[in-house]
Symmetry: C2
Subunit: 266 residues, 2 copies
């Protein structure tokens, strides 16, 4: 009998990652036994989507599951692991980019990490082909199982240590969270001058497309890269009513220049 035919899964968390992963597992033929969310609405919504029980109190989390997937906020992951009595032979993973696997130590024998490297939202279509999953486990059998699981939901997997996962998470903050904030600043500047943000969308798309094939070091352009002091000065004057934008402009320009000079010295 195939593992997915008998394995019972409890999903802790019905937020973006929890919902997405539940649907992906459901689609792959796994049985979600129960989902937990602090908020009743989220729990009910997810239970409706994948046909499972719902609960809103961690004391009601079932103890007869084979796999616990903890897709809660970082604080709540720690709280749950420290308070829940895992059944002896079960497996447990968390889905956090920034928490150590060792949190599970002494709480359960078979544990690991199952971290999707993607900005996931609840409504996203289940198309996990584009979601690499980083796995880590307390033993080889568990590691192998997580690799298979990733494949079954259509994802590539990467075996990363907790330390490497921290680096990855930090790099993701730069290339996702911070990039989105730069988009926001661009939109803000445009809107304040009655210009449609839409004008920048093809440029934004192309910038992200290019880096899929070439290294960003080879793609850098702009006033800082050219060390065009006149334009940089003009831009900073333009930003004079927003000290924070000015500081961001200065620090990023300085960093581009440092890099340029480093490459020149070689």
């Amino acid at each position: 009998m195939e593992i997915r035919e008998y394995m019972k899964i409890v999903m802790l968390g019905a937020g973006n990652v929890g919902s997405y992963m539940s649907r992906a597992l459901d689609t792959a033929g796994y049985k979600i036994l129960q989902c937990y969310s602090r908020t009743g609405k989220s729990a009910r919504e997810l239970s409706g989507l994948v046909g499972c029980e719902a609960c809103t109190d961690t004391r009601d989390v079932r103890r007869d599951a084979d796999l616990y997937i903890i897709a809660l906020s970082d604080d709540a992951v720690v709280g749950f692991i420290n308070s829940f009595s895992f059944p002896k032979n079960a497996m447990a993973v968390h889905t956090s980019g920034s928490l150590d696997m060792s949190l599970f130590k002494d709480r359960i024998d078979n544990y690991g990490v199952f971290y999707p490297v993607q900005t996931i939202n609840k409504q996203a279509k289940v198309d996990p082909g584009s979601i690499p999953i980083c796995i880590e486990a307390s033993n080889n059998e568990m590691l192998e199982f997580l690799a298979v699981l990733a494949g079954q939901i259509g994802s590539d997997h990467y075996h990363l240590s907790s330390h490497q996962r921290h680096v990855l998470h930090l790099a993701a903050v730069f290339s996702n969270n911070f990039v989105n904030h730069l988009y926001y600043i661009a939109a803000d500047l445009m809107e304040k001058h009655d210009l449609p943000f839409d004008l920048l969308l093809p440029l934004i798309e192309e910038t992200a497309q290019r880096v899929q094939k070439e290294h960003p070091a080879d793609l850098q352009t702009g006033p800082a890269k050219r060390n065009d002091k006149m334009i940089i000065k003009e831009h900073l004057e333009f930003l004079s009513d927003n000290e924070q934008y000015k500081r961001i402009y200065s620090e990023l320009s300085k960093s581009i220049l440092i890099l340029r000079d480093k490459h020149r010295d070689k």
Copy 2:
């Protein structure tokens, strides 16, 4: 007789924008009479591509053209406009995001700006549908002509004042040049810890895709947005061997927090 059948164009510059625009105009049925580049190799390459004369000395630029397109570096645009004797009835445009249209004043009667909002490289396939063009002109007839010209090479056009174009250019620095540098920092962090940058590519693509449909203010996630002080502290410790990356991390996080608090107060 249609304008593109008799209009003779001189292209100043055979770099990324000059090459791309020459090929787009050639494809649209326009005749490129001559191209100029400081470097013989670029001039010859472009002349071969669109079948036109090439020259490498501005003193050899022909004076019998109908339209001069100045796609040079900003410094060189200024130099060319101030030294060239434009024929009385010709039109001239530059393609810069950051130079005022008024540079042409007293040098020629019919002038304007034809600025493509895209990061263009020489090899790019001529597919200008995704390249919005900002136009500005010294008179209505010229403005109308530039709008038609943009349409003929398949681009949407936007009529922007020089001031608005400066804002757009600054916003493009944030959403293209600075974004690319954040990609670089992410790649650098990954590579220093033996992690493949490829792991981040789906995330980068998705981040740029999302903003095509939703406003970046609604898409912000990450430790700064959650004001997750523990993670932010950890990340800054991680970056302790690179002061510049640390400053960028701090300033961007601070800016995300300022924004979050502003929205909260509303």
